[in-house]
Structure formats: structure tokens, C-alpha cells
Amino acid sequence: MTPDPEETRGSRAERRAAWTLVSPALGAIAIFFALPLIAALLLSLTDFDIYALADIHNLRVVGAANYLRLLRDPLFWKVVRNTLVFVALGVPLTLGAALGGALLVNSKLARMRGFFRTVFYAPVVTTLVAVAVVFRYLYHPRYGLINHLLGLFGLPPVDWLGDPAWATVAITLLAVWRSFGYALIIYVVGLQAIPESLYEAAQLDGAGVWRQLRDITLPLLLPTTFFVAVITTVGLFQIFAEPYVMTRGGPLYATTSITLLMYEQGFRWWNLGPAAAIAFVLFLLIIAVTGLQAALRRWRRT
């Protein structure tokens, strides 16, 4: 299967032509990706702030101090923990909801599949700010529909956005509700790629619905699941809009994500140096987790 090295390397002229052809793309990447990245890295080694904006002599090069302070700051660790909780709660919920929805929508028994596909996908295209208004009412401790329903079952009301423990759950639920439609569509495509003949053969062998799901659907959906998991993980690591519009990161920073902390540092308080340091730590964290997922998948395959 490995191609002949001589063949792929090509002649010198061909190589030159290749470089010429890709150079516009490389140039664009350098200007719009590499340069800002380097600039952000340099920025993270300074204490660039409003004073430095006034007079560049007020800029101090602080080396790794931003990073060290960040690692020693309990607030940063709280925010990392919040983000990990968002990911740990949100990814399985999204995958579960998306897979469940996809199986329903794809089922031959279901009617109006197109309609339901639209319904499940609709939250993805809604405007979060408008949705937030509705959700804030749903979650309202006194007038909220959710607490009203809890009351019907004799359960005590929950201060969804005011109680630090519940606020994380409330924000995660909103994030899942808003994004699982996208994963669902990908799952539907994955399901449709599974050959019908496999199910027919399994039925002939007497396999039930659960058996078919466990031994055919889930294994063949593994690449899809991996893709969806990576996308959802990366998305949830960068969760920003949901806590920003719902709770502004409160109560007591319970719903502040890493991105929200970065935004506050950078654009609310104009501490651009520390904000850039947060951005870099987040970048490394996402790469590490995605790498871990990829390694896990490779290990599963062997």
C-alpha cells in the first residue's frame, strides 16, 4: 500500500511548481494564522493594559509571570474546573441526545421524519440572545415552568440560575439543547451509511433490536461518534455565549468558563497580557484533550 518514495517526491521542477501553487495559501495562513498566533504569544509575555495603551513605556515585559500567576490563581483553577464540568456533563448528554434523536428520526417506523429533523435542528439556528430570554423565564425560581413542573411532582423549587451548583447544570442543559441538533444530523448521515443488508442478515440470525444496536449500529458509528465527540468537546471547551448571556459567569463564578474569563480580562478590564496567557493555556488544553481522544480511538482500534 505504501507508495513508492521516488514517485511521490517527483522531479525538482515539479516540486518547485508545487510550492509555487501552494504559496498563496501558505501566505494566507502565515498572515492570518501564524502571525496573530506569534503576536498573541508575545503579548502574553507582557503586562499590556490600559496604561500601556496610553504610553508604550508603561509596558513591562514580565516573561512567564502571567502564566505563573494564572497557575497560582484559585479563580483560574475554579474556571478550569467549571469548563471541565461543562465538557464532562455536556459531551455525553449531547452524544446521547443526538444518537437517540437520530435513531428515532431514522427509524422506519417514524412518521414525519423531515418535520422532526427540522424540529431537532431548529435550536442550532436560533439566536442565543433571544433563546436566553425564554430560558431565563423557564429557569425562573418563582415563575419558571420547570419549577412549576417540579412542583406537580411534589419536588421543592430549585434556584436554577442563583444556586452555584445548579447554575452549571442549567447552563449545560441550555448548551446541549442548542447544539445537539448538529450532532444529530451527522449521526443521521452515519446511520444511512450502514448497509441495510447487515441488519437483514442479523435478523435472519435471530438478533433482536438491542443486539442489532449493540453489534452493528454502535460499532459502525464509531468514526462518526469520534468526530462528533471531538467537535462537541472543542465546542464546550470554548463555551462562552451561554454563560455570558444567562448568568454573566455568576453566581460566584460558578458558570465562568475559561473563554469567559479571558473575555473579561481582555475586553472588560483591558488586561490583554494575562488574557493572551489564558488563551494560550486554553489552546494547549484543547490540543491535549483532542490528542487524548485520538489516542484512545487508535488504542480501541488495535
Partner: protein, 428 residues
Amino acid sequence: MRLRPLLALLLLTAAGCGRGDADARTTIRFWGFGREGEVVRELVPAFEARHPEIRVEVQQIPWTAAHEKLLTAFVGNATPDAAQLGNSWVPEFVSLNALAPLDARAARSGVRGDVFPGIWDTNVVDGKTWGLPWYVDTRLLFYRADLVAQSGGPWPPKSWAEWRETMTRIKRRGGPNRFAILLPIDEWTQPVIFGLQTGAGLLDKDGRRAAFRDPRFRKAMAFYLDLYTSGLAPALDLQSVANLYQQFGEGYFAMVITGPWNLGEFKNRLPADQQGLWATAPLPPPEAGMPYPGISIAGGSSLVLFRRSRSPEATWKWLEYLSEPAQQARFYQLSGDLPARRSAWKLAGIADDPKAAPFLQQLEQVAATPKVPEWERIATRVAESAEQVMRGGRSLDSALAALDADVDRMLEKRRWMMDHRAGAEAKR
């Protein structure tokens, strides 16, 4: 069809370019924010008629974008000639060296004696005046007159003790689901006002370090927190207040500490049959016998002249015009914003409205928050410590110690700069 707007735009631009050449008038650019930026246009024609040599170009910017837009304009060398500026932003733009001092000009026009002293003071940073007060904002009590009267408690309160007495009676009559006062726990204004009332400086003299462990601030914070722990105020944050006006009308709470914009809102949003039920009162001082009313916060907007303005003289004429009592009175009629000059109050007859009159009384007793660029961040942190005690189960002393430590860290750069500047001056 599609092209038409584009064409119109091009023509407009061309016209705009052409005008500068044909027109010998000096053009000054003024930025106004939100509703004020819209309303101020109405004051332009009379000014241009009085000064035919000057043309005023007003640009309206939404409040939410204002701060960032000003900073970007500063960095990009594109500040206007003048703007309105929230007076808590003045220290920040002074530290950027973006503004021109107004002392000499203001002394000539003699506005100072007519402006509420606490409001004027917010514009003075490092001994110089950087802004001309335009309209003012402060906080006092909006209350349900019927509920307060039924309680039989002392009113208007002349001390924290009297105030608390009335609140306790209201709570006792109201039962578990009604409250005496609404204090959103994520708002920093209330604990800071109580701190200003007890005379706590919040920061030390030059704004180098935090001073929240000062017993005066501790007393203020303890009073504030007690309103929640004794059940007089619900532990709600701003987001959870579904509809302030409706809940006020229902009697869910009997008082709220809020600002002048709510004079208009309460009039518009409460039904006609509830209009007789609400009133306003100044804030009480901590102890009986202290000057009445108790101190409140000095807010509002000032008019500033940017250092890079190319026609400061013409721009000053515009700012001076806006601060004239007659124009302030007119601006009040157009916007509902309370004027910064006492003579404008008289001219517009604002104090004849019994609901607005307490503001006049309160404005004589207002104080500025610490004038450091970091203030807004510090204030947010103050609200957090209150929340830590209430929701996080932290002790007041440990919360205040942590507050001091954090605020000291926020002021580190400021201290470094002050030392740096002092060192450089010593060398010279």
C-alpha cells in the same frame, strides 16, 4: 434596485467631502451615547444659529459600545473633538492622557458654584478639572407609600436604625413571600453607598492600596448583609428579577434603591391606579444626628474636550452652551435626565414634582467613588465579596481580607507607575 443605496451612499460621501471645501465653518465632532446622543441633536440648530461660524456634527453611539469605541478611537488617533463621558470613566481617560484640562475655561464661565459640589468633584482628578457636568445620576429610595404608611414605622427614616425598624414592620405584615426591600446581590452600588455613608475611604489616600478592612467599611457591609440574613431583602440577583415594575406593583417588595431614570419608568410602566402608591425619599444617614440625607453616589455624564481636538475654542463654546441652565432645562424636558446645575432645576421646575424633589435634596449629599481607572473592576469585586458571604458561607472578615488582597493586586500597576513617575521627576 440593489445599487441605489450604494449610489446614494457614494453621493453622500462625495457631498460630505465637498462640503468641507465649500464651507468655511469650523466643524466640531461630538459623540453622544444612547438616548442622550439622539436627543442632543435637537440642541444643535439653536447653537449653530448663535455661532454661524461653527458646525456641530453629532455621532450617536450605543452605550454598550461606547467605552470600547472611545478606547479604539484613542488608539487609532481618531477621537472626536468632544464627547459625553460617564463620570466614572473620567479617571481612566485622564490616565490615558486623552483629555484637555478645563480649569481655566470653566473658571471664566463660572459654572462651578451652580453645580452640585459632589458631582463637580467627580471631574477633578489629580487637582485638575477634566469634565463639565452635564446631567446627573444618583440613587435613593423608591417606595410603596401605602405599605410604608400601613407599617406605622418612622418615615422618612433619619438613621439606619429607623429605616430598619420600618423595614422590619413591613416584613412582619407582609409574611414570608413579601419583602421590605429589593437589593440585587450582584449590584455593587448599595454596599459602596453604605461605605461612603460611614466615611470609609474604600482605598487609601492616593488610591495605592485597598482599605476595605477599615472598621467603617466593615460596619457598612455588615448592615448591608444583615438586610438579607434577617429576611428583609430576597437573595436575588439582577437577572432573576423578572419584572421589577410588576413585582413592585404586586407588593413583592416595598422599597428599592435606584436612580432617576426610574422616575420615567415607574410613571410609564405602573398602571394609572398605582401611580398614587409610589413615592421617593432620600437615603438615611447611618446615625441619627448626622447630616441628612445620608450620602449617595455621584454619577452622571460629563462633557469632555479631547486633547487632540483641532479646534478647542469652538468646541468649548459648544460644551459651554450645553451646560447653560436654559439648555440643561431643555435637555431635561427632552430626555428626562436630571440637570447638574441648580439653576436649571429651578428653570425647569423639576422640584415641583414631589417625586423628583427628593433627588434635589439627595444631590446636595453625594460623593464620588475612588478616582482610579481600576474602579469599575474593584467595584465588581466588592459585590463578589458580599455574594461570597451570602451564598458561599464565608465569614465577613475573611471575605474582606481577600477583597483587600485582590484589590491590592489590581492596583499593583498603578503603584508601579506612580513610583516610576515620582522617580523620573526626582531625577529631573
